[in-house]
């Protein structure tokens, strides 16, 4: 792995203890865990856009939050520009946070309705003391608003979020972090609550910010089709683990893990002339994930399962340059 990587995640684990009744606890004396993120490793360079794709409950959001240390990892290391941020104290972490930011899913809930959008951006500036005096603040806010497509800025100046459409609000959410000049942004389902006609505009904006400012993005989504449009690489997660990671077009054309194959086959095609295919998958994601895995976690749903799958949890191995798969069958 490259050392100059902007972000390197090594064997990251985030476990949540399962709360049980007192009696049960006394009887078993064992704490069980939900392994939301279970031994995830990857790295990314400056200006990369990595897609993290998976179904709900696969741990993709927890992974994003753990990387920013909004949730403390249980184990593992997160290197940002070579420094291990899991060992930083609060004060150092705080100054680093300016560089590592997050875009949230819900553009309606993530903006304070009682503040104008100008104040929302100003607050970001003040928390990190990025401007001297109001005039400089105003200039920065104006530039940022126009950069995220809210132009002319005068028209949006002093408006409350309620007066904006969903797409415009999401642009404010992006402006709020852009004004801090971040280097790594975790975008957690940034377009899934927006109307179809404005979704692509937001994706275009993310791609534009990457090109212009070299910002790296981790794009967390359940939608492979949109990930295809902006990501260089895509990681597929299943029950807390990355089961496959590869360059986007390679992954879509030759998925190697049976789960990736099912996920890709399930994506609906917006063309009635294309026939629906049968899905190579059985059943549902388990409602309560198991505590410990001694087998491949996908084998109960896998159509190609064999004895070996029951005996070990396959590690992620590189099968061709940049293409990693966790499956005993992939060679």
């Amino acid at each position: 792995m490259k050392d100059q990587a902007l972000l390197r995640v090594e064997n990251l684990k985030t476990y949540f203890p399962v709360r049980k009744g007192l009696v049960k606890f006394i009887l078993s004396r064992k704490v069980e865990y939900v392994r939301a993120v279970d031994d995830v490793s990857f790295s990314m360079g400056e200006g990369d856009i990595l897609g993290v794709v998976g179904e709900s409950g696969c741990g993709k959001s927890t992974l994003g939050r753990t990387i920013l240390r909004l949730i403390e990892p249980t184990e593992g290391k997160i290197y940002y520009e070579g420094t291990d941020i899991t060992s930083l104290n609060r004060r150092k972490m705080r100054s680093l946070r300016r560089k590592m930011q997050m875009i949230f899913q819900d553009p309606h809930g993530s903006l304070n309705p009682r503040r104008t959008i100008t104040d929302i951006l100003r607050q970001s500036l003040r928390i990190h003391r990025l401007a001297d005096g109001k005039a400089e603040e105003d200039a920065l806010i104006k530039n940022t608003l126009e950069e995220v497509g809210l132009k002319p800025a005068e028209e949006f100046w002093g408006r409350y979020p309620i007066l904006l459409s969903g797409g415009q609000r999401q642009r404010v959410g992006i402006g709020r972090i852009l004004i801090l000049q971040p280097k790594l942004v975790i975008a957690d389902e940034p377009i899934s609550m927006l109307d179809v006609s404005v979704r692509m505009g937001i994706l275009e904006l993310l791609a534009h910010l990457r090109d212009k400012f070299g910002i790296s993005f981790i794009y967390i989504t359940h939608d492979l089709a949109t990930a295809r449009y902006i990501c260089e690489r895509i990681a597929i997660m299943y029950l807390g683990k990355i089961v496959e990671i590869a360059p986007t077009e390679e992954l879509l054309k030759t998925p190697l893990h049976p789960y990736s194959q099912a996920l890709i086959a399930a994506v609906p095609v917006p063309d009635p002339r294309v026939e629906m295919k049968e899905l190579p998958i059985i059943g549902y994601v388990p409602l309560i994930p198991s505590d410990v895995y001694t087998s491949c976690r996908f084998y109960p749903r896998c159509p190609y399962t064999e004895q070996k799958c029951r005996e070990q949890d396959p590690p992620l191995v590189e099968v061709s340059p940049g293409h990693y798969v966790a499956c005993v069958k992939a060679k």
């Binding site: 179904e55 709900s56 459409s165 969903g166 797409g167 415009q168 109307d195 179809v196 006609s197 404005v198 979704r199 692509m200 505009g201 994706l203 275009e204 791609a207 359940h222 939608d223 492979l224 089709a225 949109t226 295809r228 449009y229 077009e249 879509l252 099912a262 996920l263 890709i264 086959a265 399930a266 994506v267 609906p268 095609v269 917006p270 063309d271 009635p272 002339r273 294309v274 629906m276 899905l279 998958i281 549902y284 994601v285 409602l287």
Partner: protein, 316 residues
Amino acid sequence: MALLEVENLKIYYFTRAGAVKAVDDISFSVDKDETLGLIGESGCGKTTAVFAIMRFAAPPGRIVGGKIIFEGRDILTMSGEEVRLLRGQGIAMVFQAAQNALNPVMNVGDQITEVIHQHEKVTKEEAWDRAKKQLELVGISGDRAKSYPHEFSGGMKQRVGIAIATACNPRLLILDEPVTGLDVIVQRQLLNLVNDLRAKLGLPIILITHDLSVVAETCSKVAVMYAGKIVEQADAISLYKNPAHPYSKLLIEAYPSIKGEKGKLISIPGAPPGLLNPPVGCYFQPRCPSAMDICREAEPTMVAKDGHIVACHLYK
């Protein structure tokens, strides 16, 4: 005569700020063996329109004009008792987020028998047997009739919703955003089920969605709604191949696909208009790339063009 005919339906919400024309003069029909996809962005009036078909319109909303003819009778002039019988037996609806529409303190079997007892005089045992059969119809084992909603996953709850809606053999089924919020794999399983049901029961379906691909995989006919109006209606294949209205065209282009060549990202500038003060002329005109002078002056009327019915000044 078609099974369901909606003619010039108008539903306005009367608010303090004025009348919001949520559904403004729409007409469409559904015939036996048809699946109609009603597609549009949030707030375009698609749910309001089908609520009227179920006679669910509630203040401040009011049906101010039009007819809804189901099997030859106008639903809007029916008495309360007739409407009660119509719901469930004539037309049944699976609500948006049916996952959360289930009663959490009642097992799913009882929730199905509840509907059956409302409509038919049957014994408890008979109803219970039918509940089990309904579950099996939607791909859930009958043994799970005693389970409560929290013991099911989202996709299975949505299936239970369909089982409840089809318990009394309705002649028309309305699905409101049936797969929104479900994962792709579960979504596919559910769409397969919808297609199966139509084949097995010969059930005509109205499917409401904002997702073009869902329509593409299930519907034979599509109506595109924008700001309370239907702007284009055509059979599914022809709409995807040759969309006539600029909005339909852009909507299809803006939809990402994982198949074929990766095209350019396209988004429609601006946002849908507020319906309190809609723009003058065509409602889509402020966002339309081919807007002409006449679009800013007069509202387009519906014209037929190559089998499409379209409301646009480009076609005269």
